[in-house]
């Protein structure tokens, strides 16, 4: 027996049929240790098969199910009922990530998000031939990028950022974190190429260190810190170019 009944409110929208988004409510049984995702799946599987959402690994590594839950950007699979409600009869709200076109219900169109990712040249750029064995990297050098490599590209950060809300062309924290991850990789020689992209009006300087990205990140990445390091690198690079 489930320990409680909860009221689930989901922002629904199918552009094929609906004039606009609207909220629908469902009663679902829940245990404190259920994930927010499992309640959505209960609705989809047992109440209304038309409910649409992305999901896959269900334990916070694939990045499919970022959405707004009780007004905050979260991975539905990685937040538990006990962290969202006080008890029986309470309500949980679900909406798609803000400031992105809605495909259907909780699914957003991420094509712009991934265009921005591609803009920053998100791959290792090296001069000269590769050595026979692995490129050496000290544990300290590795530590510079390890936190950033945890990124699962779920979009929770970019869609939590007021700069994204104000300017759809803003590169956003996820893409620039990827730029950081490669630029600060001791094996990389592509800093200049990548800085050309992020050191721009729609890039780094629209990050006003509001920290929304850090709060939204389901992997607890210290995004603002790394973007600040990227800003310092960009400023140094500008200074040396002028000199």
């Amino acid at each position: 027996m489930a320990e409680m009944q909860l009221n689930i409110e989901i922002k629904r929208y199918n552009p094929e049929d609906d004039d606009g988004p609207h909220w629908e409510s469902y009663e679902v049984p829940a245990d404190p240790l259920d994930s927010a995702l499992s309640l959505l799946l209960h609705v989809k599987w047992h109440i209304d098969g038309t409910l649409s959402l992305r999901k896959s690994c269900a334990h916070g590594i694939c990045g499919s199910d970022a959405m707004q839950i009780n007004g905050e950007n979260k991975l539905a699979c990685s937040v538990l009922v006990q962290d969202l409600v006080d008890g029986d009869g309470d309500t949980i709200t679900y909406a798609p990530l803000p400031s992105a076109p809605v495909v259907k219900d909780l699914i957003i169109d991420q094509s712009r998000f991934f265009e921005k990712y591609r803009e920053v040249k998100p791959w290792l750029i090296t001069d000269g031939p590769a050595p026979e064995r692995e490129r050496e990297q000290s544990p300290e050098e590795h530590a510079m990028i390890e936190d950033a490599t945890k990124c699962i590209m779920c979009g929770a950060c970019t869609h939590a950022c007021p700069s994204t809300w104000a300017d759809p062309d803003y590169l956003g924290p996820a893409a620039m974190l990827k730029a950081y991850r490669y630029t600060f990789d001791s094996r990389d020689d592509g800093a200049e190429e990548r800085l050309d992209v992020v050191d721009s009006p729609d890039g780094l300087w629209k990050c006003y260190t509001i920290f929304n990205c850090n709060e939204a990140c389901p992997k607890d990445i210290d995004i603002t810190r790394w973007l600040s390091a990227l800003k310092r690198r960009a400023a140094t690079s500008q200074a040396s170019t002028k000199a």
Partner: protein, 580 residues
């Protein structure tokens, strides 16, 4: 509409991206068709590492690795393929590093390596540090790096296009695939000179699994429906340490770093079963031992689980080497592994069996060399067979990258040598259209919710076809599946819209599940011996005289099936008794 590419890869996990990358670098025009965005693929969930005898931490040799893999397979892995895998491993890991994979480092600045189950030095003497890793996010970092590289190289991606059928000519040549564009509900033809399936495993056919929701084994179902057999489907890996009730994986790396399994008495029970390697015995053995402990009443607090104890490890190891699993057990179980042991239970993890393929990815109908022209399979959906009856931890990521690489190179070579498009039949999309229309027209009067059929299938597979099996349980499962086959055709799809209809895709996937679940249960009933992960209570011994062979499952798609044999390749390691 019809898309054309030299090479079409179906699936965008580690093996699919490797095949795509190397085919592209070999000059081919490559399209990757996947039901998920590539970064959502389940390779990202692989935690503990990827094996290679780099010898960065201590002496190691590819031949030791090959021996461990053969022994781990309970001698039914093909030794030519295993040799290719282990020899190629160091070079391939170095290539991954050059592509940018952020491996964890040791003090010398080379790739850090750790112990893992079944990997030993000098042919079984003691555990060896062979697993290269990026903390416990190894698969995640490989998946993301490969996607970055494919993006750089101009691989064309078709994200959220679900492949539902193969296109075969009357001469038995593969001409392409049919895919459903999830966003629009349109059906498309992909015409290709070379088609590579990299569609992953089927963990979702079982109630308790570490696998993603997407792990529904579609590729294996599609093959069966096109008259292509499946190999060794009876061999299903249950990973010993899934989180109790949830099945979420806790990496074997936790035991590699010194974690210990304990029963209700607090006893380190693996000492009794595997005195040499103890908790680092291979997965088949450890899962069987956990079930045995539970059966004999030593489950913790009388429940169906045991403890994974990490409390004696340095906090720094948990923070640096096992951060993700530490977080999972806090988030989902409310257990801090620094303070108390983690409740764990075996969880369905990996398919050793699959689409018969050789070490260059060619799909084979029966005999070796009997290729299906233009068709390849690689990764978990394929059976090469490297893992035989039981896969060693860290050999799956390795297979993805080594075999993905080889397959990509082979496909590019075939294209360069002038392999042309096979002609498309007149109406390649007809079967798919009919299947979808039929599902959409089902009504509540004669049909039932998708979840009923899927859940019953998962329950009967878990109850009857998991760690221990016998003729009665397997007959029960096969009988259940006969009923489920009819019911799967009548499931009701609530969502009738064209736009992002995941309800319809759920219905299709249940149909595939029934098809290959029959291959798993049927294969298990057919193999009257115990070997590796296939443990028969009514045939407890391994029987080399009758069963040192692969089995091929052929189905007519209506519940009628038969088996063929296929020889095991033995190069250097004669079958011996397997003890640890």
């Amino acid at each position: 509409m019809t898309f054309e590419h030299d090479v079409v890869v179906v699936g965008a996990g580690g093996s699919g991206l490797m095949a795509a990358l190397y085919a592209r670098e070999g000059g081919a025009d490559v399209g990757v068709v996947s039901k998920l965005h590539p970064l959502r693929s389940h390779t990202g969930a692989a935690q503990g590492g990827i094996a290679a005898s780099l010898g960065n931490e201590e002496e190691d040799h590819w031949l030791w690795h090959a021996f461990d893999t053969v022994k781990g397979s309970d001698y039914v892995g093909d030794q030519d393929a295993i040799e290719a895998l282990c020899k190629d491993a160091p070079r391939t890991i170095v290539e991954l590093e050059h592509y940018g994979v952020p491996f964890s480092r040791n003090e010398e600045g080379t790739i850090s390596q750790r112990r893992f189950g079944g990997h030993t030095r000098n042919f079984g003497e003691a555990p060896v540090k062979r697993s290269c890793h990026a903390a416990d996010r190894t698969g995640h970092t490989i998946l993301h790096t490969l996607y970055d590289q494919c993006t750089k190289q101009g691989v064309r991606f078709y994200d959220e296009f679900q492949v539902l059928d193969l296109i075969m000519t009357e001469d038995g040549e593969c001409a392409g695939v049919v895919a459903y564009e999830i966003l629009t509900g349109e059906i498309h033809t992909f015409h290709a000179k070379q088609v590579c399936f990299a569609t992953g495993g089927y963990g979702r056919a079982f109630e308790t699994t570490s696998n993603a929701h997407a792990g529904t084994g579609d590729g294996m179902g599609i093959m069966l429906r096109n008259g292509i057999p499946l190999e060794d489907m009876e061999f299903v890996q249950f990973h010993p340490t899934g989180l109790y009730r949830l099945g979420i994986l806790i990496t074997e790396g936790a035991r590699g770093e010194g974690g210990i399994l304990r029963n209700s008495d607090g006893e380190r029970f693996m000492e009794r079963y595997a005195p040499t390697v103890k908790d680092l015995a291979p997965r088949d053995l450890v899962s069987q031992c956990i079930y045995q402990e539970i059966r004999e009443g030593r489950g913790v607090q009388g429940e169906n689980y045991v403890h994974l104890d990490l409390t004696h490890l340095d906090n720094a190891i948990l923070d640096k080497k096992l951060p993700e699993v530490t977080e999972f057990s806090r988030t989902y179980m409310g257990v801090d592994p620094k303070e108390e042991p983690i409740p764990v239970v075996p969880t369905c993890h990996y398919a050793m069996g699959g689409i018969p393929a050789n070490e260059d990815g060619h799909v084979e109908m029966g005999e070796r060399g009997e290729y299906v022209p233009g068709l390849y399979a690689v990764g978990e959906c394929a059976c090469v067979s490297i893992h035989g009856a039981n896969r060693l931890g860290t050999n799956a990521l390795l297979e993805l990258v080594v075999m993905g690489r080889r397959t990509g190179i082979e496909m590019a070579k075939q294209v360069r040598q002038g392999k042309d498009y096979a002609p498309l039949p007149e109406t390649p999309e007809d079967d798919t259209r009919t299947m979808l229309d039929d599902l959409l027209s089902n009504t509540r009067d004669e049909g039932e919710p998708i979840v009923n059929v899927r859940s019953e299938l998962q329950e009967t597979m878990m109850e009857n076809v998991s760690v221990f099996r016998n003729d009665d349980t397997l007959s029960t499962a096969l009988n259940d599946l006969q009923g489920l086959r009819k019911r799967a055709k009548n499931v009701v799809v609530d969502d009738k819209s064209k736009r992002f209809n995941t309800d319809l895709m759920d219905a299709v996937e249940v149909g595939f599940m029934v098809d290959y679940a029959e291959a798993i249960a049927g294969g298990a009933r057919n193999r009257t011996e115990s070997r590796g992960a296939h443990s028969r209570e009514d045939y407890e011994e391994r029987n080399d005289e009758d069963w040192l062979k692969h089995t091929l499952f052929h189905s007519d798609g209506n519940g009628n099936y038969e088996f063929d044999d296929k020889e095991v390749v033995i190069t250097r390691f004669e079958p011996k008794e397997r003890s640890y």
